[in-house]
């Protein structure tokens, strides 16, 4: 038996690199942000002023923060629709605490928001994994349950800037070397999450679960525990987002955070996280949030009707999903062409 090594087929290899697609995707979003920024500035030069740029960062922060948790959930092929409601409830409960105990340390305010969100996330995660109810249903129900509870607690009253301590509000407007604290907090969270999702086994499990649930079972991955954790993180970050929301606006009523879940999911998907799980990064999601917010504020700065904002966000979402599907099928073809194993062949 003689063996020969067949010649390797050249080219294509860069397509096979797992990270390639993601980098192209993220670069595309950065490019889009730059384009929108340049276009808006040429119509209205004030768009490039420091305070305007600070607003761009602050406005994207809350969405990007919730996007981190939502990304982790969507990676596992689940969805968290309750985060907008969690934000509202968290902001309100923190506000009530400040009203009842004016001396409450501001750190405690943040912790209350995070703990409350984590607790709700745990309920979401438990019902989804232990009772095997689709998360779309669970979190949709949770969205309404929380709004209802919110309405009962709030009972028509509004938390105003008189009860929110100045030092707490400072988190919303103070800057460090010109960079808003809000943005710094979110960038740190995004960076930690991005690093973790690449580097830890539990995080890779999230990708595996979303990529092929059956294979994840066979590989012995504790899918239930991982999905549960993703919901807890998502809830906790939505709770933190509630604290930041209160710091930023210094007021909250029963409608606070309404519709945020869809803004966040739009940002995450525009940012390249696959809607059926398995691939995507939190950095991409954060960039998606920044892009949507930049478009939003560019419309304001150029005095185009705000109604366009939603239409554009929707169109962008559709475009992102269509583009991802197209790219995926292109990639599959490319990867198939790529000669997989270089194999020895014999004449026996």
């Amino acid at each position: 038996m003689t063996a020969t090594l067949s010649p390797p087929r050249q080219g294509h290899t860069r397509f096979a690199r797992a990270g390639f697609l993601m980098r192209v995707r993220e670069l595309g979003i950065v490019l889009a942000i730059v384009l929108v920024f340049v276009a808006a500035t040429s119509v209205n030069p004030a768009f490039a002023r420091l305070d305007s740029v600070q607003q761009l960062l602050i406005g994207a922060s809350i969405i990007a923060l919730m996007g981190v948790g939502e990304t982790m959930v969507i990676l596992t092929r689940n969805y968290d629709l309750s985060i907008g409601s969690i934000l509202g409830l968290s902001a309100y409960v923190i506000g009530m605490t400040f009203r009842a105990h004016p001396g409450t340390p501001i750190v405690l305010g943040f912790l209350i928001g995070i703990a409350l969100g984590a607790a709700i996330g745990a309920i979401n995660g438990w019902i989804t994994t232990a009772l095997r109810v689709p998360s779309l249903v669970v979190t949709l129900a949770m969205l309404y349950v929380i709004r209802g509870v919110d309405g009962v607690i709030v009972n028509g009253s509004i938390i105003g800037s008189d009860v929110v301590p100045r030092s707490f509000q400072a988190v919303g407007f103070a800057t460090l070397f010109g960079i808003p604290w809000m943005a710094i907090i979110v960038v740190v969270v995004v960076a930690v999450a991005a690093y973790s999702l690449r580097s830890f086994r539990w995080a890779r499990d999230l990708y595996a679960i979303g990529s092929s649930p059956e294979a994840a079972d066979l590989a012995g991955i504790p899918a239930g525990r991982r999905v549960f954790t993703a919901f807890v993180v998502s809830g906790a970050l939505a709770g933190l987002a509630g604290a930041l929301f209160l710091a930023l606006y210094a007021q909250i009523d029963v409608n606070g955070g309404t519709g945020y879940e869809f803004l966040v999911i739009a940002a995450v998907v525009v940012g390249g996280v696959a809607i059926f799980g398995g691939s995507g990064t939190v950095a991409g999601a954060a960039l998606g949030a920044f892009l949507l917010n930049t478009i939003n504020q560019a419309l304001v700065a150029t005095r185009i009707s705000a109604f366009w904002n939603q239409a554009i966000a929707g169109a962008l979402l559709l475009a992102a999903i269509a583009f991802d599907q197209w790219l995926k099928s292109r990639m599959t073809t490319k990867l198939q062409l790529e000669k997989g194993a270089l194999r020895e062949q014999s004449s026996d």
Partner: protein, 504 residues
């Protein structure tokens, strides 16, 4: 050296296990005993319960009753992780990869090498993967995505995954179905090294030559029940088949002489950049032409281009002298071409639909009455083909995902044959199909040609190619290098052409 079975303690024992899925009794007596240092074959017809037994050992299914012992101690696995921790590594019949993750991640999922702070060490992971591939004698980029890997390459990744576990028991459910001869040899080499280090190996295959080559003992199952376990040297291939099927059987179907008519399919200068180029041939009515060649020579790709799934970059295809629109499977189907694809699970079946719906899927136009598809017509069609293909199933409405691997293959075959094609392209028609049904498939292909259907067959099994073909076209690295008349062909002449070692 294999440890003497009489005095050694078995490393794994399954005794009188049963497993039912609803009304389906998949296993009525699952019994197998594995010893260290021994390769043990498990054989049986399609649907005999081999994969179900494997899944019990793997902790995927809990047996309804029966005993499972590891090193003499009773165990109850709550999931695949338990079995893995007990030292059992499993290669499943159907590859189970994560398409979005890299090859190396697929191999080491949940067990990735880590450095300080429990962070994954990608470099160590990639080089460990490369090392395993080297042992298997292949080169595969550990950092590429698993998406788009061919069936054979997916199987290699599965094998690497199992090897990386350094398990004391290695279970392989038809690992060789999609591999080349060299890879099979390599795999057996690795297996015997593992054996010499004291591992037990359970090997499932429908290719009995492999069983006799690589294993020391064989267990035969029939209809979910244990039949017998014997040392391999006590048995002949004929004994094994008789025990499997319960009766004597001819393994090879003798081809009836054919009378080729007019040319129906003509392929001229067909090319696809980087894959194959300048492929020209004809197939006549009532003729069976084989595309032979090594795995990766471009045979399936040619078939896919003719059928229009892949775009050809140059060339033409005519059916009955009329040019066929390329890149359009519907046009190909309308022209009477049917394609039974190689990767049947992904390309040939709708897993969540019933057997009847799947069989009828390619014949909807014919079944349609006033715009609707009567279930009764579908059922009749499916019943007919289920019988002809000796399909093992409970009810025709059961989803195909519940069928055994080989029976799924049969459903795809039935789906396209039910269409009454004029030109049939079959890619690996008997892969994963048991010896009994293999001869049946051969008889059916022969029947079809005598009815005047033109058949283009792709097969890696040389005996099948030699026994069935009127003409053999040999592909090498994307080029048509030889055409050999069916009666002139020998294993040597075909392999010479396929590997490029012709004198000329």
């Amino acid at each position: 050296m294999p440890v003497d079975a009489s005095d050694a303690r078995p490393v794994l024992e399954l005794e009188r296990a049963t497993k039912s899925f609803g009304a389906v009794r998949a296993i009525v007596d699952g019994t197998i005993t594995l010893y260290r240092g021994e390769a043990h074959a498990l054989v049986g017809e399609n649907g005999a319960g081999k994969s179900t037994l494997v899944k019990i050992l793997a902790g995927v299914h809990a047996p309804d009753s029966g005993d499972l012992r590891v090193d003499g101690i009773d165990v109850h696995f709550r999931g695949p992780a338990d079995a893995r921790d007990a030292g059992i590594a499993v290669i499943y019949q159907e590859p189970t990869l994560f398409p979005d993750l890299t090859v190396a991640e697929n191999i080491f999922m949940g067990r990735q090498p880590v450095r300080a702070g429990r962070r994954i060490d990608r470099r160590a992971m990639n080089s460990a993967a490369t090392e395993i591939f080297t042992r298997l004698g292949v080169v595969l980029d550990p950092d590429r995505q698993a998406r788009g890997l061919s069936v054979a390459d997916q199987q290699l990744v599965e094998i690497a995954k199992a090897l990386s576990l350094n398990a004391q028991v290695l279970v392989m459910d038809e690992p060789t179905a999609a591999l080349t001869n060299v890879e099979v040899d390599r795999l057996f080499g690795v297996v015997s090294t593992l054996r010499s280090h004291g591992a037990a190996v359970l090997f499932i295959s429908h290719r009995l030559e492999e069983v006799f080559e690589a294993c020391q003992r064989v267990t035969i199952m029939r209809d979910g029940a244990f039949v017998r376990t014997d040392p391999i040297e006590m048995l002949t291939v004929g004994d094994v088949i008789t025990a499997m099927v319960g009766r004597k059987l001819d393994t090879m179907f003798p081809k009836t002489p054919s009378h080729p008519g007019d040319v129906v399919l003509e392929v001229r200068g067909l090319s696809r950049t980087g894959i194959f180029s300048d492929i020209s041939f004809q197939v006549r009515r009532g003729e069976l032409v084989s595309l032979a060649g090594l795995v990766g020579a471009g045979r399936s790709e040619v078939a896919r281009a003719i059928f229009g799934i892949d775009h050809a970059t140059a060339g033409s295809v005519t059916v009955d002298g009329k040019p066929l629109r390329l890149g359009d499977p519907l046009a190909a189907m309308a022209a009477g071409i049917a394609l039974v694809p190689e990767d049947r699970r992904q390309q040939g079946l709708v897993m969540g639909l019933g057997i009847d719906r799947n069989v009828g899927l390619a014949s909807l136009r014919r079944l349609r009455r006033r715009g609707l598809i009567p279930r009764s017509a579908e059922r009749l069609l499916a019943e007919d083909w289920a019988r002809r293909l000796q399909l093992k199933f409970a009810r025709l409405t059961d989803t195909v995902s519940t069928l055994s691997g080989g029976n799924q293959q049969k459903v795809v075959l039935g789906k396209w044959l039910a269409r009454d094609p004029r030109i049939l392209i079959v890619d690996e028609p008997t892969r994963g199909i048991d010896v009994g049904t293999k001869a049946e498939v051969h008889r059916m292909l022969d029947d079809l040609t005598s009815q005047g259907i033109a058949v283009l067959m792709i097969s890696s099994e040389l005996p099948e190619v030699l026994g069935m073909s009127d003409r053999i076209l040999v592909l090498r690295e994307g080029r048509l290098v030889a055409e050999i008349g069916g009666s002139d062909a020998t294993e040597t002449s075909v392999m010479r052409a396929a590997t490029g070692q012709e004198a000329a």
